[in-house]
Symmetry: C2
Subunit: 489 residues, 2 copies
């Protein structure tokens, strides 16, 4: 049922947004700022999507979803500032550990003291990868000079081809697992190149200081989403999974379990694979549907062990570790700003995540704590609490960190990723061109989708036919003049 206004006619909003993650909330904020009427429908009973705080007592939290902010992630930094959420540096003081080829090595800086053969081999391949990545046009990766060739092979095949040492291959494996929570064979080389370019390089993806893991949010990353939602007010409806989108030339009716809303346009801001699970009436073109069959979510279980204090710091360890053994292959100190309690964070990624996803929580806890003990000593053996989140199990995400294209995806379906279909627009970090897959990309995508709506041809609502819903709501500025009447597709 569409909402009725006082006269009993169906009220019509300017836009509905599906999903109250960062992308959807950003889009809604932009639309509200431009004076448009909007409603956000969120399946869960909370906002934030893949951002999720878990309370650990004393008003403190850890994040069981996305958590870091890095340099050049300007949009996310500005958004956090705008809602008054501060950041603090990830703890990196002390030695980092590398468990590699059966040895546990302490080192400082970002480069572990491995054999020069391995470092040279990896470095050479990394430079080659980055040089190729820079050739990928971020707005259209399928137009890269060697797009077809790069999209015809897995990243594994490329690594196998360009490296000479097993050591370099193992570093690439940890890199892929850490960045995509997938294996090299899951990813198209072209996807890796696109992603690396969108982040600005390999080091930007993997580094803590100076990279994507540099800073954290005071109060937890989800607070940014919560503040955004507070500002939006009753525009956000929780517990309303969208099941069906009826669409015409200039309207949509978005039906959820909780509410059904008529609007001029809809922004669908959920992972591509989940957009394929909504019923569209009329059905979407085959090309868009087949895209959604080809962008699977990664597999990661985020695990944390809590200790009275960060005992590793006293021993000169940063808490950061990398391992080619696993099952935890990357670990971080994830303690709150004041260092109490001490929190060790480990990821179970890709194949390991898929396998341990079938184990019990007790088995995973034992496996994770065993790794922490191997890295940081016997004091790690007895955490007072263990926290985990397996994102493949989450009905409204179905995998993290994000999704990816296997071979053939970008060249055959890439151009359908952002292309609106009539009044249906697409957002979500997977549709970003900068920091694709990160919070920053989510914000960019929400801004871009809002801009598409604002510059699309005047809708029925805008031309005044159903007057009730088009008026600015509280806090919104007066509507600026419409942009040029460019079609949305």
């Amino acid at each position: 049922m569409a909402r009725k206004n006082a006269n009993g006619a169906a009220a019509e909003l300017d836009a509905v947004v599906v999903g109250a993650g960062l992308a959807g909330l950003t889009a809604a904020r932009e639309l509200r700022r431009a004076g448009r009427s909007v409603q956000v429908l969120e399946a869960r009973d909370r906002v934030g999507g893949r951002l999720l705080n878990e309370p650990i007592g004393d008003g403190k939290v850890v994040e069981v979803g996305g958590q870091w902010l890095g340099p050049t992630q300007y949009r996310m930094a500005a958004l956090a500032r705008s809602v008054g959420v501060d950041t603090f540096p990830t703890h990196t003081h002390g030695d980092t550990l590398a468990e590699f080829g059966g040895r546990l090595i302490n080192f400082r800086g970002s480069i572990p003291p491995l054999s020069p053969h391995i470092l040279l081999d990896f470095g050479r391949a990394q430079r080659k990868l980055e040089a190729m990545a820079r050739q990928v046009p971020l707005e259209a990766p399928w137009e890269a000079p060697h797009a077809r060739e790069w999209d015809s092979q897995t990243f594994s095949s490329w690594v196998e081809h360009v490296t000479f040492t097993d050591g370099a291959r193992r570093i690439f494996e940890v890199f892929v697992e850490g960045v995509w929570s997938a294996q090299g064979e899951d990813l198209s080389l072209l996807h890796v190149l696109t992603y690396v370019h969108s982040a600005g390089g390999v080091d930007a993806l993997i580094d803590t200081g100076g990279g994507a893991q540099q800073d954290r949010f005071v109060g937890g990353s989800q607070r940014v989403a919560e503040r955004l939602a507070e500002d939006l007010g009753d525009v956000v409806t929780l517990g309303a999974p969208v099941r069906r989108i009826e669409h015409g030339l200039d309207h949509v009716v978005v039906e959820s379990d909780g509410a059904s809303v008529r609007a001029a346009r809809v922004i669908v801001a959920i992972p591509p694979t989940l957009t394929g699970r909504i019923v569209y009436d009329p059905p979407l073109p085959g090309r868009r549907d087949q895209l959604t069959q080809r962008m699977p979510q990664g597999t990661v279980i985020k695990c944390m062990a809590l200790y009275e204090k960060p005992f590793w710091r006293e021993r000169g360890l940063s808490g950061e570790a990398t391992s080619d053994v696993g099952p935890v292959k990357v670990a971080y100190d994830n303690s709150p700003p004041d260092g109490r309690p001490g929190v060790l964070l480990g990821f179970l990624e890709g194949r390991v995540g898929r396998e341990l996803g079938r184990a019990t929580e007790a088995e995973r806890r034992a496996a994770v704590v065993e790794c922490f003990t191997r890295f940081f000593g016997p004091d790690a053996a007895e955490p007072y609490r263990y926290i985990e989140r397996s994102w493949a199990e989450e009905e409204w995400t179905r995998g993290c960190y994000g999704c990816y294209f296997g071979p053939g995806g970008w060249t055959s379906y890439g151009s359908a990723l952002r292309q609106p279909i009539g009044p249906i627009h697409w957002a979500g970090s997977e549709t970003a061109t900068v920091w694709l897959g990160y919070m920053d990309g989510a914000v960019q995508s929400g801004e871009r989708a809002a801009r598409e709506v604002l510059t699309s041809r005047p809708s029925a609502a805008a031309s005044g036919s159903p007057p009730a819903a088009a008026r600015p709501r509280r806090g919104a500025r007066a509507a600026p003049p419409r942009g040029p009447a460019t079609a949305g597709r």
Copy 2:
């Protein structure tokens, strides 16, 4: 709403089947034969799934979906016989054409007279492929001796690696497009090996006489499904897309637009990617869900041109053609048994199908007829009718011929493909171990899923609690004793 019996209590069937394609109908028939109560819920207003007859006048039909029967497809042959549908040989009399490297060649037999270098190169690679394929255990491809290595690369990468001539590579390209309606880069080498093994070899897949295109069904392949459905009677409900499956230890409630049915078990007999679009309560395990994110459907548009008579036959041509130019890369004589009208059939597959899927029907018709004219002469230029079906556009299939795994799929998710989840069982040709992806595989999968249900632990219905629905319906034999109480998972 669950069905109510006379006492007002929810009646419970032994099983619900989702999907009235060959797999679902076969499963329902097997269950009915064993005396079980069953209901089939079908989204479309017809049965047959990817089997679909199109009337062309005078009581004749052509098939716009699957149509052929080959040697060793014993289950499908037996099924057709059992419902009284006869077969007739695909027309192959006369010269076959091969447009290759810019030349149009006439030849007889299955091997075009190409350069010996190319034929030797292709033959050597084919033998290598088949030797590897035989090592893949069909029940568990992920346990093949080199599973990890074979699943880490695209079929493109393997072809690039093992062939020496561009010609052999082009033959492999036409092979992949013709068999999977996809490109070599879309497919895991392990998937190709599994598929080839399940069919019994490369020639079994591509040949007309002696291969999977050998015979056709009198009255069209869909007639087999229609006859099956007639025998099942009012057990089949059309126009009832299933949206939600609630499941417990020993029951399911299957909700469709049209009806809602409570049963002890459900067999979901639709393509894997579409199984992921149903809402499950409780949600399915992450591993199963992530599987459904990784089995995309291929892309094919089946196109036919109708002429008063099969003029090519008079010129000594069989109507069969292969081209490395396209857009039609394989063509067949698809005339009815009596040769009137003359029907030329061409497929737009893989990349070509994706690209021309965005064109208008008129553009596709022009492109297809241009190919037929190039192959068979100017008489092909003016068909009196053009028929096409683009399966990616079909809401309840979303791509043909079937689905496939890209790299990484079989080794990480393969074991979730058939594994039941509580009372939920999976069927469909994609779950077959013999003639995977073909009608024969669909029948095998339906029989296997029915057997799972019949040998699962006694359900609530069987133990007599809700008595109404467990009684045999008309035509069903008395229930035999249950099999051993093995759990379904």
